[in-house]
Structures are given as C-alpha cells and as structure tokens.
C-alpha cells in the first residue's frame, strides 16, 4: 500500500515515515504543496497524511483536489491548528480523520488502522480469505491457523491481494503498491512474478492451492467463495 506524507517539519517526517514503514506502506514525501500536488495528481495513494500549514499554500486546497480526483484515498489531517473550525472544515471536505499536533505515534497508528478498516470495509485487523488469515497491522499470516513464514514483500503482496479480494489486480498496480512509482516497471514486473511464484510455493506447501489466480496478461486475483 502506498502512503504520502505532506509535512514540512523534518523531525515529524522522520517519525511519520518510520511509523508508516512499520505498517508496511511504501512512503512518498512532500515537503511543499507543489510537490504534493504533483504526486497526488500522478499517483494512487491509499493514505495521505496531510499537514494543513505548508510553507507554500494551504493544505485544504490539496484536500479538495484529493477528494475530487481520488475518492478512494484516505486522508488524515495533521496540523498544529486545533481550532474547531479548521477541524470541521477538513472533515467537511472529506478528510477521514484529524490529528492535532502534538500526538503520540501510537494514536496515529491506531487511526491509520481505523481509516484503513473503513476504506477496505473490514471490521477487524485480521482479514480472512478461505483458510488464510492475515493481520493488516503487522506481518503475520496464518494458514489453517498455522503461522506461515513470509518476507516483507510477500506480506505486502498478500495483504494487497486480500484487501482487494475478488478483484483483478494488475501486476503494475501490485508493483506500485509494494515499491512505489520510482521503480522502473519493466524491471519490477519480473520481480512480481518471482515473488508470486514463491508465495504460491509456500501456500501450496501449507496445503492451499489455487487461492490466487493468474489473469493471463493482466495480473492476479485472489478469490474466495466462502462469503456467500
């Protein structure tokens, strides 16, 4: 999953980035509104942490753009402004949550989880697809209640596919969600294939077959039928 931090305070950036990396996000940074609006226009983010007070403009304008063009993106506003008016305005404009500085990182973490649950319409931090259960908040994968060893990348792939279960995910979208957009896609797609091969091998060793289907020439689809 991809996140964007729009914040101009270097120290806070460091904390936020660390937190998001721990949550297995791919993180982009923007210290200025121009950079942020370039990124927002170009990329699909799952989560944006947005500081309203930026050196070159008002973050609320960016929020408008985000909500206009990217309804799917979750936005958590982070700001020193604690006035109710701002809070209301931000929430009215469609931000998903609001944090006033200073705040403990644990709170941010909890809010991220909450926002992501809402975004993906899940009730629990654990999501299930057939015999596979995955924790969205830390690297943990259970197959038939037995833990399965996965690498970070494999976990990111599984999480993205499980959050989007029954949807076809293109390989390029998958690559982008793991490595961001800086990576050359002609290069990363091969890696997606290799990682997928490894995941399937591990799943198959744990007795799960055909959970992830290849949509030939397009990407992958994680299918579960038990929901009906």
């Amino acid at each position: 999953m991809r996140a964007l931090i729009v914040e101009d305070e270097p120290l806070l950036i460091e904390d936020l980035e660390e937190c998001l990396l721990e949550e297995q996000f791919n993180v982009d940074l923007a210290q200025k509104l121009t950079k942020a609006s370039d990124l927002v226009a170009a990329e699909e983010y799952d989560l944006i942490l947005l500081d309203l007070g930026l050196p070159d403009g008002d973050g609320l304008d960016l929020l408008k753009t985000i909500k206009n063009d990217h309804q799917e993106t979750a936005v958590i506003i982070i700001t020193a402004r604690s006035e109710t008016e701002d809070k209301v305005k931000g929430l009215e404009l469609g931000s998903d949550d609001y944090l006033a500085k200073p705040f403990p990182i644990a709170e941010l973490r909890a809010r991220i989880h909450a926002v992501m649950r809402r975004k993906y319409n899940i009730n629990d931090n654990q999501i299930a697809a057939g015999p596979v259960k995955l924790n969205v908040d830390h690297i943990k994968l259970l197959v038939n209640d037995e833990p399965m060893e996965v690498t970070e990348t494999e976990y990111k792939m599984m999480r993205y596919l499980m959050l989007n279960k029954n949807k076809t995910i293109t390989r390029i979208a998958l690559a982008e969600h793991i490595w961001g957009s800086k990576i050359d896609d002609r290069f990363s797609l091969d890696f997606i294939n290799s990682h997928m091969k490894n995941i399937r091998k591990k799943l198959s060793a744990a007795g799960v077959e055909n959970l992830i289907k290849t949509v030939y020439g397009v990407g992958y689809k994680l299918t579960t039928y038990e929901t009906e």
């Binding site: 170009a42 990217h70 979208a173 800086k182 290069f187």
Partner: protein, 439 residues
C-alpha cells in the same frame, strides 16, 4: 587564427612585399640616376675634349700622353680601331686598373667609348670616370631610404597591433561571451553598445536573438511543466476507471479484463512519463533549493536498503568501496533520485549472482562517486547519448523487454547539471558499465 593576428599578419606581409619591391625599385632608380649622371659627365668631358681639339688640334697629342683632361678624368686616345661607329657613344661599366704597376686592385669605371674626327683622322677615345665615389653616394641614399622604410614598417606593426587591439576589443568581448554560453539558460548576457557600427549591428542582433531563444526556451520549459502536470489528473482518472472495471471482474469476459488491464498499464506508464518530464522541467526551471548538506555515502546506503528486495532476489553482491565520505551542497531529494536511478540501472542490467561495485574516491582535485556493474555494458552506438532524453538501449540480452523510455539517466543528467556535477558513463574494459558522478 584570431582575427586581429590575421589582419596584422596580412598587413605585415603586404608591407614587406611593398618594402621588397620598393627596395628593388629604389635600387634601380638610384643606380640609373647615378649612371645617368656619370654618363652626362662623360659626355660633358667629350664635349670639352672636342672643343679643346677644335681650338687647338695639337693638344690631342698632349692629352693622349697625359691621359687626363682637367683634374681627374682618365682619357685613353688611340687610333681608330673600329670598336664603335664614328660619333657613336658607347657606355660601359668595367673593372680595370688604370696603372697596373702602381695599383693592386681593380676599380670600377664608367667608360665612354667614342670616335672623333680630328683633321680627317679618326681616333677612338675612351673616357673613364671612377664609379666608386658615385656609388658611395648612391649606396648612402639607398640605405637611408631603406632604413627609413624599415623603421616605418616596424612602427606600423606596433601601431597596428595597438590600434587593432583597441578597435577590436568590443568584438572580442562579444566573442568571449559567446564562447562561454553552453546552455540556453545561460543566455542572460547582454552585449553592450559600442562605437563601431558593425559591432553594434552584431551585438544588437545577438541580443535580440538571444532574447528570443531564451524566452522561447523558457516558454518551452514552462509548457512542458504545465502540460505534464495537467496530464497527470486525467491520466489518473483513466487509471481509476480502469481499476474500477477490473474490480468486479467476475461479471466480465476475458477480453474486457485484458483491455482494462492494458488501459491501466498504459495510463500508469504515461503518468510516470509525465511525472519524469515534470521532474526534469522543474529541475531545469530551478524550482529546487540547493542549500542542504548532503552526504553521498549515507544516501547510497539508504538507496541500497530501499532496493534490497531486488538485490536479494537477483542475488547480487554489493561491494561498497567507500574510500571517503563525500558531502556536497545540494538538494537531498534530487541527489537521492540520482543515486537511486544509477543503482537501479546497475541492478537492472547486472545478471543474477554477479556483483555491483559502489565506489567513492577523493583526491585534492576531485571527488567521485561511481557505480560499476557486470552487465552487458552500454551498446557502442549509445555510448555518447546515454544521458539524452528518450534514449533507450535496444539490447535485449539482459532479458527484459526494455521499451520504456529511458528518462532515468536523463533525470540524472538534469540533476547533475543543476548542481554543477559532472556525470559520465562508459564501458569497463572487461565487462559491464561504469557510471560516475564527479562532484
């Protein structure tokens, strides 16, 4: 050759030719004047002689014996021997001795040979005049004229040099300014007005042309920036729509899924391309501040960390040979992007299991960061243009279908230009390529 030297040289050559020609001319002129004068003299003597003999025919014998007339002339009278026609005057210059017993060296004489009739007897008369004294005069004249000319030429040379330097100074100022322009964004220089009409015309033309180039270049950069920014939003909408189609793929047939997948892929690729162009134009429009202290080795470690997934997957060995830490002033985000691109390229082209060498080296003159890979190297036809926009290598031996536009190294170059770094790429002698940045 420089213009002023050319003018000076041609001037000097011309004056030397004129000098040579005039020396020859003067030599002949002086000579002919001297001989003409001598001949006149001799004729005068002849007339004197004839006059004297007319008065007194017997004096012929005296003169013959004495051999002189007046004070110094030398006259030789003989019986007519037919060497000249009667009454004809034949002039000649000869070297002889008047008196072989007394003299040891021949002297140069002008001789008039003529024949006169005295009492119906013809005599051959030879009148001699010594040339030496006359020649002395002529040589003095010649030398002083030539010396004058030579001094004049030297003066002219020095003067020319001085004047040319002065006159051409504004022209050379223009030329040196032009020589320093390497990039359209350097076209901020203006050429001043001078007192020389032609240079004024030249400078004004240059000013207006440079202004036009600069403004159209600025416009172009601004256009690229705006266009690539404006393209991003519609592209991301196309992408979202395609993703929406794919999200309920159950209801779709295979062909639709494939088409939607392709639309999404293409939209993603296009938006990356726009993004790269946007980055390049933002760099070229100098919209980044360059006042951070950036530590190259730190950033390199960071980048390796970020790319560790790929490094592990390809089982590459990263050899870090950091001889020194390099700290530069610049924009950390951009420098990071540079190193990221270079290392990513190296990972891309290096075959599985091989090594990549990351080096820093410093000496008094330069600090260099270089990345050496063990890939197929840069194809010969692209070696000079790897940093150019949209240049891609068409070498398929590395196993990737590499048809994405090669903007990566172009971004590297833009960033290096912005920072005044020097980036270069060449093939290593054994295998692989080396890309280095000189700070």
């Amino acid at each position: 050759m420089k213009l002023n030297n050319k003018i000076l040289l041609s001037n000097t050559l011309l004056t030397l030719i004129v000098f040579a020609l005039s020396s020859i001319g003067i030599y002949y002129l002086v000579n002919s004047t001297v001989y003409g004068e001598l001949d006149n003299h001799l004729l005068q003597h002849k007339i004197d002689l004839i006059n004297q003999i007319d008065e007194d025919a017997s004096s012929l014998q005296d003169i013959k014996e004495l051999g002189i007339l007046g004070s110094y002339e030398w006259i030789d009278i003989q019986k007519y021997d037919g060497t000249v026609a009667p009454n004809a005057n034949d002039f000649a210059t000869i070297d002889t001795m008047r008196n072989p017993n007394k003299e040891i060296e021949k002297k140069s004489y002008r001789r008039l040979t003529t024949a006169i009739n005295v009492n119906d007897t013809y005599y051959t008369i030879r009148l001699y005049e010594e040339v030496a004294s006359w020649e002395h005069i002529s040589r003095t004249i010649l030398l002083s004229v030539l010396a004058g000319l030579l001094i004049w030429i030297l003066l002219l040379y020095v003067l020319n040099q001085f004047v040319l330097d002065k006159v051409l100074a504004p022209f050379y100022e223009t030329v040196s300014k032009l020589e320093h322009i390497s990039n359209p964004s350097d076209l901020t220089e203006t050429f001043p007005d001078t007192t020389t009409y032609e240079i004024n015309v030249l400078n004004r033309a240059l000013n207006s042309m440079m202004h036009q180039i600069r403004s159209s270049f600025e416009d172009q950069k601004q256009f690229i920036q705006n266009a690539s920014h404006e393209l991003l939003t519609p592209l991301s909408i196309i992408r979202q729509k395609a993703e929406k189609i794919l999200s309920n793929a159950d209801a779709l047939d295979e062909q639709t899924i494939k088409a939607a997948g392709n639309i999404q892929d293409t939209a993603v690729r296009l938006s990356r391309l726009s993004n790269a162009l946007l980055l390049i134009s933002r760099i070229e429009n100098r919209q980044y501040s360059l006042d951070e202290d950036v530590e190259i080795t730190n950033i390199t470690e960071n980048v390796i960390d970020e790319l560790s997934d790929f490094i592990e997957m390809k089982q590459l060995t990263m050899h870090k040979e950091f001889d020194c830490t390099i700290t530069v002033k610049g924009n950390s985000e951009l420098i990071r992007a540079t190193i990221y691109n270079i290392i990513q390229n190296a990972i891309k082209y290096t075959p599985s299991g091989a090594s990549i060498f990351l080096r820093t080296s410093c000496d008094e003159e330069q600090r260099i960061f270089s990345v050496l890979d063990e890939g197929p190297g840069i194809p010969q036809e692209f070696i000079d243009s790897v940093f150019d926009r949209f240049q891609k290598t068409q070498n398929h031996t590395h196993g990737f279908d590499d048809n994405s536009p090669g903007l990566g190294l172009s971004i590297v170059q833009s960033i290096c230009r912005l920072h005044d770094f020097n980036c270069s790429a060449h093939n290593r002698p054994d295998k692989g390529a080396e890309v280095s940045i000189q700070f």
